[in-house]
Each structure stands twice: as C-alpha cells, then as structure tokens.
Amino acid sequence: MNKIVFFGGKGGVGKTTCSASYAVFSAKSGLKTLLVSTDPAHSTSDIFEKKIKNEITNILPNLDAIEISGEKESKIYMDNVKISLKNVVSPVIVKEINKQIDAASISPGTEEAALFDKMIEIITEKNDEYDRIIFDTAPTGHTVRLLTLPELLGAWLDTLIKKRSKSVTLMSMANHHGQTDKKDIDNDEVIKILRKRYEKINKAKKIMMEDKLLSFIFVINAEKLPIDETVKAINILEKYNVLVDGIVVNKILPENMKDDFWKSKKEQEQKYLDIIMETFKGKKIFKLPLLQEDMKSNNIENIADKFSEFN
C-alpha cells in the first residue's frame, strides 16, 4: 500500500468509517499514521469520541488526526492578507480593498481552494514526518479536482512569473540606461511570493504524480449507483496516472437471512457483488460486513483487524 492513501466514494457509503478503521489498522501495524478528515461533516471526532480540531491531535499510540475545514482555512488566509495590507497601504485604500477581500470570501470556490491549499500543505510538509497519511475525502468530484489543480495552477503561476519578470526587467532597463540588474527580479516581492507557491505546487505534484506515493481506495456498497460512480471516477483517475489500489465493499449483509424481504435483498446483493467482481477485476476487492451497532472508539479495533487481509 502506498504512503498517501485517499478514501473516496459516493456519499453515505461509509468512507469515514473505513478510513478511520484503516488508520487504526495502520497505526497498530507500527506505521506512524496521520488521518486527515476533509469532509465538512467531520464525523471523525464522533467515531473516536474525542475532540479533534484543525490541529494535529494524538488519538492512539502512533495515530494522529486532524480535521481541516475550508471555511476556517480561508478565514485564516484572508486575515493574513488584511494584516499585511495594513502595513503596506494607506488607510483609505485599505477600507476599499477590505471590501474586495470580503467579497472574495463569499465567492464560490474560495473554501474549496482553501481546503486544497491546506491538503497540499499537509502533503508537502508532513510527508517526511509520517509513514502513512490517510485522507478521508468529501464525495468524489471534489478529490478529482485536487489532482487537476497542480496542472491548472502551475500554468497560471508560470505565466504570472514571466509577465512580472518582463515588467520588472523593462523597468530596470529604463532605470539603468538599458542595462538590466538581475537582482531586481530576485528581490521583487511579488515574484518571491509567486515562486514560493510555484515550488509548493510542484513539490506536491512530484509527491502525488511522479513518485507515485499516492493511491486511492474507493468505498462502495453492493448497489447500482455507487458502482456506476466509482467506474467513472476510476476512469478519470487513471487519466492522471493515479493508482486506484482497491475497492472496499462496505455493509455486506449477513448470511442465513430468514425474513422474505431480507432474503430477496441478499439475493440482489449477490447479483451486484458478481458485477463488482467483474467490473473491478484486477483490483484488490475487500468486503466489510454490515455492523450490528455503530462503530465507536470501543469496537473500532475489531474492524481495524479485518484490514489485515486487505494489506
């Protein structure tokens, strides 16, 4: 199994349960593990019955967890911009510009961008510290965008750096009688910020795509819609050369049903299980039973143990 593992899948299939128990399993097998919850619902705290905030919190030996939220991250970012504005610009302009920032904070995509930023920060900065980083992601489409982001942002930053460098070079030529001073470009604050972001994005891209440290596990149920959605998601991920490592089929009904309703339900499940075996041939397929009671901190280890077959 790879170092960075993303759990994805349709809403309600049990991503959080699976990622939490997989994290416990990883920690028990001796790997220093970080569990990152990106789902705004943040059920990880509820499962471990421990308050996890947007800081890395220790839960079990070898297991740390963090819940990140786009809303909080974007607020931190905006506040930082506002503080540095105060130091640079006159108060009159600050008032006008603050309006601009507040408008940006409610525009669509802002929280998403802040969340991605934080995820990239965790991937690049915590990569050396942990043996395994597990992401419990929000439903499918979201995560796919994270993988396209380095491409999009990289090209944009590249253009910006070139434009700004050209402008600074021309200005430097104008001031030094046709001579350019290379220091002018390196000392330019705008270019410094852009280069820093560019390096961060490239580092994340290298870790995720080139070093092949990233893999996906999809959680599905033996039902039609989760299967269909996962097929689509796998196609997209393979376009980006991201390994889809395994499929967890969650909530499998017990054998020996007595009631007619449950008997026919079980038959239908078997039909879908056959389809799953056929569709995802070549991938690791792992079945988890439907639990009698909710997963909580006291029974999570039992489920975690089941993952030993999966690895």
């Binding site: 930082n80 911009v81 504005l85 640079v88 601009q100 920032i101 944009w156 253009t159 434009k163 700004r164």
Partner: protein, 97 residues
C-alpha cells in the same frame, strides 16, 4: 589621480552629456510604457474579477493584493477607459520627442 577618481570623473562626464543631449529620454519612456503595459496585463490575470471577468484562480492572487493595492485604482480606471482603440494607439506616438 588614482583609478577611482578617474572612473568617477568619466561617469560624471557621461551623465553630463546624457542629461545635456537627452539621448535616453525617448528610449526610457518607451521602456517604462512597455513595463506598465506588462504590469497591467499581470494585474488583469490576477484581479480580472474586479472587472467582472471570472478568474478561477482569484483566491490565490489575493495574497498579492497588499503589494499591488496601490496600483489597483489606476489600473481599474485605465482598463475601463480603454474604449477607443484609436485613442490608445495615438497615445503610443510620442510626438514631441
């Protein structure tokens, strides 16, 4: 006279003639204009949404705002008054040079 002084004298000599004959004024203003144009494009790529052009990366350009804020007002005015392409092109010819 030692080397330093010769250098200083020659430099001053050069500067005197540069000022007196004004050889560089035209080229300097051209370079500056070109630099400002480049910068206007740069701001457009960062903060186009101020003009109503959606920029998918606008979240990431916010951190540049403190460094660009001073130019933003003038930039906005220049962009909005770009109504007549003739007027703009005419402005490129510096007739009294």
């Amino acid at each position: 006279m030692d080397n330093e002084k010769v250098k200083e004298f020659l430099n001053n000599f050069k500067l005197f003639f540069q000022g007196a004959t004004d050889f560089n004024r035209k080229s300097q203003s051209l370079l500056m204009k070109e630099s400002h144009n480049e910068m206007d494009d740069f701001i457009l790529l960062c903060f186009g949404d101020i003009l109503g052009i959606p920029i998918p990366t606008s979240y990431y350009s916010l951190e540049l705002l403190p460094l660009i804020a001073d130019d933003l007002d003038g930039w906005q005015r220049r962009m909005v008054s770009r109504l007549y392409i003739w007027g703009e092109k005419w402005g490129d010819f510096d007739l009294d040079a």
